[in-house]
Amino acid sequence: MPPKKATNLKPAVRASRKRSPPSDPYKIPEEDENETPKRRRHANQDPEDEKAPANEAVVSTPSASRLKKAVATPIKLNGLNGVDTPSRRNNADRSARRKSARALVDRVISGAISDDEAEEGDIAREIYESSEDEDNEEEEENQHGETEPTTPSKPAAGRKRKATASTTARKRSPTPPRDLPPHEQYFYQNKPGLSKTSSNTLSSLQLLTHDEYFSLLRDLAPKNPHNSDISHLQSLHASSFPQWAFELSQGFSTCLYGYGSKRHLLHQFATYLSSHPPCQSSQTNKIVIVNGYAPSFTTREFLSVLSSAVSLPICTSLPPLLSFLSSRPKTTLTILLNSVTAPPLRKSSFQSLLSTLASHPQVYFCCTSDTPDFGLLWDSALSTSFQFLFHDCTTFASFSPSELEVVDFVHELLGRKTRRVGGKEGVAFVLRSLPENAKSLFKLLVGEVLCADDTGQGQEEVAVEYRMVYNRAVEEFICSSEMAFRTLLKEFHDHQIITSHKDVLGTEMLSLPFRKEELEGILEELTA
């Protein structure tokens, strides 16, 4: 407990907190520990002397630094998006302030400072000073009241942190520390309140159209200064073809990973394998190249291609294919798969099918991966049957348009309408060719999604429950059975004007890949 003297002195200290901070608050922590208490005592003994310069300090020093900050990063002036309960926070701060002030006073009065206490005093002083900053800033903000309509405490806190950071001895630099390990960087960058970005948009920039992209690319591609290096790199990889073929022949599967398109490399590998098959000379080897990146890829098609390659009447399930192969030991099959991590291939059912195929002694399997996350595709059982050998095949080759639809991909990333979906016009076009009840179902769906969007603000993507939509559709006499309902939805799926997924609980959810304004436009058009 603080002694009586302290309580007597408290009003004076408070006054000094409010109006008369020490002449230069930013210097104190850098000074010698032994000196500080004297200054403090001095400040407490005759506050009147200090008052005049202190006031000046309030007005001049912090505001100057703050203005500088404001000029350098204009974001913070208008980036006031913090949501916090200011009153509670302030109260907490006040009491902390009060306590630290009291601690300082105690120390000054008792006069003696041990080494441990010096440390403690540091903290107390820091709290005390930071509150001073805040006071100043609050004043400042009131002055700037016209330009900033709301002053929630959070941005102020951020500003305060920066202001003290640049001045106190304990440096908390605003620039991110370099060379942190990845996990540290993750936590650093995901700190709440750190994600401040400017509100610039790309509205001034005319986005690329497909035609412009491709016509410019045609001129740019030959001019790439790295072309010769890329082809040299590819030739280096090509020199490992004999090794890879040998590994395949020994019952391993190979997986080529690394940045860059490996389509061309895999194609070359196929050419090599056709002249140097991994099987014995008495066997005939069939090579199938599968493009996993194709969005229309299906397991059915994959299996039918395989079966036609080994001249088996078309079959669409795995067991007949495998038993056919086993019955014909002279035939071997080499499967070269592009982009094993492509979205249509990520299903575990497909991966287990692949692993069963790859573990067959007459099947040689080689795949490429364009993403660094391929390890997550296979659990230990799958990887045991794959028997993968991994090779780093960084090619730096650019992806072909069929592998990567650049313009659509970027526009999707930016949330713009893409060619594939077709936007509002596309929907109108699709619906025109569909029967009347399909139109009314889509209208219903749009209405529901907009409704859900209004109620559930701030969600990443608005989705409605499949079951609910179905019930509504039945109520409105759009369809009479779930079968008919599914058929209608299938039509929408085919034209990619709806998307469906399962949420965490396993409920099927339907959503529309459009922005809110577009949805409103569609609804208007449909009701008109």
């Binding site: 610039n200 410019l216 090794q243 391993f252 660094p372 230990s380 730096f396 990567l404 991909f409 930016l414």
Partner: protein
């Protein structure tokens, strides 16, 4: 739960039976039982605790329907040890997997809980690598087949580059065999013959190694597992003398009491006669040596038995000077008070004889157990494979690191003149994706695409050294962004317009 269908028998396996609802199990068992007349059901339970606990959880009526047999699962470690004994250490193994690689392989088994299959394919890959990448592996062929056609002058040249060749020649020079050393260096035929002479030496070494290991494990006194012993034997050789070594069996042997010593002698004798099956080592195959050794051990055993009988006749227990019982703590109760007195037991004549027997046993064993480290052998590079880097690259890839390196330091892969100076930092000459990756890794969790574009354009645009026009730069920017997205680095963020969220921290 998985089930295998057959005509007459249905096997239902419950993995992890503890997690299963007991009531459900009871009902199922009842159901199976009621079908017993027509369909034979076998039920397999995986039990992590004990059979008693499992039975206690079941209803009595259910338990009565089950006719149980218990199968113990073999510990993964034991399986691994068996595989290693046969495939790595045994006589059948043509290639010696070096201690470093073996340690890595075993550690991966233990840490990643990979199946034995993974170990086997790693082993296979080590063989592939050795025979694919080491041209001198041809010397492993039988001596007769190694004619001039196969053994080319380049091979001999390569042999002269080997570390073991150098040390062999140096040793020869130190030993004063200057002629031998000179011929090795200059005379191809001499070297060829010398190489061919290595085959029997190699076989002898292998026999000696396996004999040492088999006898050392037969004593059952070592604290280390077989794998540990094998690694140590390859690395440091086998010797019973020096205490800190893993083959420090001396103390343990000397401390044994008469009965234990007889057991030891028996085990060692059986190993000498029959060898170790898993290792594929058939005992000491030179009949004379084996007989001599057996004779010595038999005599020793006879002596010890006689000593035991004699001391029994005198009513004293036989002990050696090494046994800890040579000092006795004597307790005497006098008037309900316990008196303790320390007493050094004097050794009788029998005891002294027994001590001698122990000493001579240890001396015998020492004669039989002992070999040099593998690396001291001439041409050991030819039949030892101890590189762990290719193994790690291929089985335990680090794709994140590879992608991050390619994107942050393209020069490492491209070797181009233009990006040489960048050395891992940002430069306008880097490929667009790489520039964007640099900007990406500097940015926070949320990235404004407009700012990203501005930063990118500042690097490659009109006012920079590259001087690209805006639309062309935009094309490359698009492509870089699309590639980064395809690699899973970012996704759309709906928090703000034209913003993307960071997904990867490599």
């Amino acid at each position: 739960m998985e089930s295998k269908g057959g005509n007459e028998r249905v096997i239902v396996a419950f993995q992890d039976s503890e997690a299963f609802d007991t009531g459900l199990v009871g009902e199922l068992v009842g159901l199976f039982h009621s079908w017993q007349g027509r369909i034979q059901f076998s039920v397999l339970f995986g039990i992590a605790t004990s059979v008693e606990l499992f039975q206690a959880r079941l209803l009595k009526s259910t338990a009565r329907l089950l006719y149980g047999a218990q199968f113990d699962v073999v510990q993964a470690n034991a399986v691994l040890e068996n595989v290693i004994m046969v495939a790595v250490a045994g006589t059948e193994a043509k290639l010696r997997i070096g201690p470093e690689l073996l340690r890595k392989l075993v550690r991966r088994q233990q840490e990643q809980v990979a199946g034995v299959g993974a170990f086997v394919s790693s082993l296979k890959y080590a063989y592939i690598n050795h025979f694919y990448a080491n041209p001198l592996s041809v010397l492993l062929a039988n001596g007769d087949k190694l004619d001039n056609e196969i053994l080319q002058p380049e091979h001999l040249e390569a042999v002269r580059m080997l570390e073991s060749f150098k040390s062999h020649v140096e040793l020869a020079v130190e030993a004063g065999q200057l002629d031998h050393a000179q011929k090795l260096l200059e005379d191809d035929d001499y070297l060829r013959n010398h190489i061919l002479e290595q085959l029997p030496k190699r076989q002898n070494y292998l026999k000696r190694l396996l004999q040492s290991l088999a006898l050392a494990t037969a004593t059952e006194l070592s604290k280390r597992s077989f794998i540990g012993l094998y690694e140590a034997a390859l690395e440091e050789g086998v010797s019973l003398d020096h205490p800190p070594r893993p083959f420090d069996l001396g103390d343990a042997i000397k401390r044994s009491n008469p009965e234990e010593l007889i057991g030891l002698i028996d085990r060692v004798m059986t190993t000498i006669e029959e060898g170790n099956l898993s290792l594929g080592w058939g005992g000491i195959d030179d009949d004379q040596d084996a007989e001599a050794a057996i004779k010595r051990f038999k005599e020793l055993r006879f002596d010890v038995e006689r000593l035991i009988a004699e001391s029994k006749g005198k009513g004293a227990s036989l002990k050696s000077k090494y046994s800890s019982q040579s000092k006795v703590l004597r307790t005497t109760v006098v008037a309900q008070k316990v008196q303790l007195s320390r007493d050094t037991a004097t050794l009788t004549d029998e005891d002294n004889a027994f001590t001698e027997a122990i000493d001579s046993f240890f001396a015998f064993v020492k004669e039989l157990v002992g070999c040099e480290p593998l690396s001291s052998l001439f041409l050991h590079e030819v039949w030892q494979y101890d590189y762990h880097l290719p193994y790690e690259d291929v089985f335990v890839p680090r794709p994140g690191g590879a992608f991050a390196r390619a994107l942050s330091r393209p020069h490492d892969y491209l070797g181009c003149a233009c990006c040489d100076k960048a050395n891992g930092s940002l430069a306008g000459t880097l490929p667009a994706t790489s520039i964007l990756y640099h900007l990406y890794s500097e940015a926070g969790a949320l990235i404004n695409v407009a700012d990203l574009w501005a930063a990118y354009y500042a690097l490659v645009g009109d006012e920079s050294e590259i001087g690209m026009d805006e639309r062309s730069a935009l094309v490359l920017f698009y492509r870089g962004l699309a590639e980064l997205r395809a690699m899973g680095f970012m996704k759309q963020s709906k928090k703000k317009a034209d913003h993307i969220a960071k997904l990867k921290w490599l």
